[in-house]
């Protein structure tokens, strides 16, 4: 593999093997078996868990079923984060498959947004794309698209159609060559040990002197603690799509190739496993 296009494909087809188990407190008519599924890293939980819902509803009475939500080791999983981000943030370096607990009661309103249908996810996804394009191109590209183009992006993600999605998404990845990159890089930095949801600020891909900014440059400015200083023991892993790119990787390249379908570069800073 020596082609950047293959990176897009690998990112898109990344899968996390997951074992869904029903919360033991749920009232069931008979014992609920675990359900195993390969979840697309770049998608969202409500989009890909229809089968899970059906599986567990079979053993439950209709009146016991409220809005489904997921939890991993006590942490409610935010559906509006891409699945890969949730995994990297909470469960990287654990044994696979990823064990998710399914709940149908006691929706944690303080932690999670309600998601009544996939149209809510679609709205969230499209607003992320628009926000990203505002940063990248002052919204010019996304505004030039037609409604059906927006739909094609969403349908591509929803139906796992790589070509359908990228036929449109490549337009969002263009930039004038003389600029050397986007206006700003749409990124979000997530931390496990923080109450802040994520860090998101304006950051240009190219320095005023004309040098390409790297992943290291970004972290130095946004989250210097995440970096390992000379002589220190490495404390944090910088994860994007479950891999640790070198800090000298150009940020523009990362934004073009390792962004999620929502066009944001989601970076997880997690503590190095202690074992």
């Amino acid at each position: 593999m020596a082609d950047d296009k293959d990176v897009l494909r690998d990112v898109w087809f990344g899968r996390i093997p997951t074992c869904f188990t029903l919360n033991p407190d749920e009232v069931t008519e008979r014992e609920a078996e675990a359900y195993y599924l390969l979840l697309p890293r770049v998608s969202y939980l409500p989009v890909v868990t229809d089968k899970v819902k059906k599986h567990f509803q079979k053993v439950m009475r209709a009146e016991d079923v409220e809005e489904m939500w997921f939890e991993y080791e006590g942490t409610p999983l935010k559906w509006h984060y891409p699945i890969g981000v949730l995994f990297d943030l909470h469960a990287s370096n654990t044994v696979l498959p990823w064990n998710i607990t399914v709940h149908f009661k006691n929706f944690p309103d303080r932690d999670l947004l309600h998601c009544s249908s996939n149209s809510v996810v679609e709205a969230h996804f499209m607003s992320s794309i628009k926000e990203a394009d505002a940063l990248k191109h002052k919204s010019q590209v996304v505004n030039d698209m037609q409604k059906k183009d927006h739909k094609q992006l969403w349908m591509g993600l929803q139906n796992d159609k790589f070509d359908q999605f990228w036929a449109m998404n490549r337009k969002l990845m263009e930039y004038p060559t003389e600029d050397g990159g986007f206006r700003y890089i749409p990124f979000r930095i997530y931390q496990t040990l923080s109450d802040r949801p994520f860090i998101q600020k304006l950051f240009r891909p190219v320095s005023p002197e004309g040098n390409a900014h790297t992943l290291g440059d970004l972290l130095k400015e946004m989250y210097p603690d995440a970096l390992t200083n000379d002589g220190e023991v490495k404390r944090y892993q910088i994860l994007i799509h479950g891999i640790e790119p070198l800090l000298e990787t150009p940020l523009q390249w990362l934004s073009e190739h390792l962004s999620h379908p929502d066009n944001f570069l989601h970076i997880c800073v997690v503590p190095v496993p202690t074992d």
């Binding site: 082609d3 950047d4 093997p17 696979l96 479950g242």
Partner: protein, 1038 residues
Amino acid sequence: NQLFIYPTFGNEFMAGCRWNPVDGFSDRLLPSDRWQWSDISGLEHRPLDGFQLPSGSWEWEGDWHVDENHEGEPTEKDGWTYAMDFPATYTKDKKWNSCVRRRRWLRYRRYKAMDNWAKIPSQQTTLPDPFSDISCGGWEVSDEPRGRLSLWAISIQGKVWFREEISHHNPEGSAWVEVPVPGEVVQISCGPGDLVWAVLWEGQLLVREGIGRDCLKGTSWAVVESPNPEVGAIHVAVGMNVVWALTKDNKVWFRRGVDSHNPCGSGWISMVGEMIMINVGLNDQVWAIGCEDRAVYFRQGVTFSELSGKTWKAINVPRDGDRSHSSASANSLHSAGCFFSGEVRAPSVVSDTESDVENPPGDGAMSNVTFPNEDHFEVAPGDGEVDAVTSTQAGGPDPQWSNVDLEEAQIQHGQMGAVPDCADSCSLSSVATYTLTMEDQFGADEHPLWAWVSGGGCSVFNLCFFTCLPPAVLQSVQSMSLSVSPAQTAAWRKQIFQQLSERSKREMDDFKHYEQAIEKSVWVKKGAMQWWRDWKPHKWVDVHFALEQFSGADGNKDGILFVYYNYHDEKKYLHAFINEVTILVPVLNDSKHTFAVYTPERTKQRWPIRLAAATELEMYDWVCIQLNPQLNALFLTFYECNDVIKDKMFWRQVGGHLRLVECNSLGIVWGLGYDHTAWVYTGGYGGGFFQGLASSTDNVYTQTDIKSVYIYENQRWNPVTGYSNRGLPTDRYMWSDASGLHECTKTGTKPPSTHWTWVSDWVIDYSVSGGTDKEGWQYAADFPASYHGSKTMKDFVRRRRWSRKCKLTTTGPWQEVPPIALSDVTILPCAAQSSVDTVPLWAISNKGDILCRLGVTLLTPAGTSWLHVGTDQPFKSISISAGSQVWAIARDGSAFYRGSVSPQNPAGDCWYHIPTPAKQKLKQVSVGRTSVYAVDENGNLWYRQGVTPRYPQGSSWEHISNNVRKVSVGPLDQVWIIADKVQGSHSLSCGTVCHRLGVQPMEPKGQSWDYGIGGGWDHITVRGNSMEPPHICLSSRT
């Protein structure tokens, strides 16, 4: 490393003889006769041994010999042509009344002063004082004779000189002629077209008027006042359609409204910036040197429609004091990448630098030379040595010059020449540095103070992303590959590749039995199209069209194409599996946007699915976006892998846009674009309008092509107004295409498709067959008729052709081989796995010169340099056999065989003229292992009889077939042609690929034709196929 090819041509001598009853023809002539040895007119005495080479820059190639070729027709042995008397029309046949005869003696001479400075002999004319400025241009005056240039010089006393008769045959010109001027001139600038501006001491500007194709010197001067009445002008620079000037207060001015019709323009516009020197390079790009910082500036945003550009950009031009030129190359590349919006391309090399030429040091007189990039021309006036200047110390009374000797200058050219090879598709700023020998003048980190810049060798194309080119696809391809290629091997990239692959293993390999969260579904795209129906009468019928796509878990996708139609009120459909589609061929025609879909089965039937979309955009949407991403090339060259089993062909399309492709079995592939640019295949795949991200970014480069669009202006004579654009009611359109059936106006005519953009304005085309008058008109008795170049009494209509260039930018695995434009190329079709070190490759330049490429190997398919092979006339087709036999066709239709070509002597030693088939002018030749086939201008295919190792010229031509457009003979003597009017291919009767059956070692002519894939092909080569099965064949179409 680049070598420039300079012209060789034959010096002709006529040896005359008169017949008398006693001796027959003898050299005893009548007293009134012409010289026995004369030039072609017979007026000048020219003894054979009396001819001297014009200067030390020329050398002889071979000795005098008799030309046995008379206007394309072979003559009797010894080359005599006969006539009744001198001077008359000579024929090759001796008749009863032939009293005189003559024959032509030839000797080739070659211009050898390539890639170095040739001193112009000053004894030809005595110049009163040394030159102080020199400017060269005029190479884009339309349809002028090849190699013609304008060279203007200014002497110290302010006089203006013009160099006469610079041409392809005489690159040094013949004499300096003084051009009277109304004042003392300090500086002059000559553009590539018909603009010449000069600056007077008093600060006014002079504009030369009356410059045209027939009068490069122009007729008169017009005076233009300085932009600022208080401050005189000091420097002027002109391009094709622009004039920039500097005044003594360093202000920059742009002249508004300048064009061929109005060289003086209409007014000055003040521009920002303060400059001390300004220069206009190719396609009107502007370079300047800043007043304050003495840095080199490039004018950003200069486009065809916005000639004044947008802003000044400083260019970081490192001065390489340690003479490590590779770093200079890298740096100029870097600057190209950083500062230019779009691509920067240096089609040629020699003129990247501005070199100043100085008279011997101490003299104090300094002059400078600019070069046009694509003409074979270098000059150093006076007794000057070549000096290079990096800087003057500002304000210093005694400028410090540094000398660089000739050797080093050459090395530097060579080094710069290597740059395009290592750059991807674009490279090179226009500024190179010459080394300063007195290093101690400057601190190591002090940036150089520039004194002079010239953009003569730098062609800059601005691609305005998001605005300029309609399909967004193109741009993303470019921006992605640009951002990526320089760091292809970077550690971070490897790390990402490696980790992604580890991640897949870790997270997915052990869990393949898990269910996918998203079920694979079918994605259907539907549309309405028209279909060329299968049964008679054939016509376009409306159909529904659907593409069902589905993909597996691994992302591999497949699809089925359905065409739903009605047959006698019954609903039916036909389908094609996308994986089986071998080729998609867009067929551009005027009324419909059609394309043909081929599968192996359909190829066998020679009946593709032909579909027409409602709009061009819709067609591209279907062809590029929706149909198989592996088959997405659109303007294409197809890479065809072709089984010997008849008609079963497998294809791979690659991006790019070429007119002609040649290859050999080692995989060396060369292609030629419509603009005659040579390209070499880099081994990548994909490119073009690649979709589905299924192509490689390695080895895919930006490729451009330029072709001309022609329209005709028609006029009819009437007794009142003479010729006018009022025709008869029955006449054709006054602005039309060649047929006269379609109206084509200057404003209404569009480029061939939306992927092409105009890059020039409409100009009169003088190179129409039949000749034109001075205004480009051709006359005829009526429309449509045969046209001739001069008016006679019987002519009532006239027409002239206008041409306009348009440009396509696409991507493909092709890399340019600068700088010489080619019209044909041939590669030795070596047997596979043979360990030839260098592969013979011959080519014909677009000027008709025959060239031999040196240093072509499997590792360096582009080769290193051109070797010029002497000829006395321009050529048009060439082919080399597996046994190094070289055959060529001259433009007059005569055939030649090159003798003694061997690895030791790659260029051979002499031409043998081969008589052509009776009354036929040959057009193209192809030779395989031993077979020689040629196609004539009437579409006949000829096989050369009697070719043996002892007698490689063969004995006679045998007619094989008619209606043949092109022939390609492979290294096993397999014969493939493109034929017209082929039966069985229904509507696509033109341009069908056919294969000769029954070719055996003892039966090289074969027996019959097998008709293969049909429709619209222009070019084929089977020269890459040296194994019995399977073989490779390359082919291209428009």
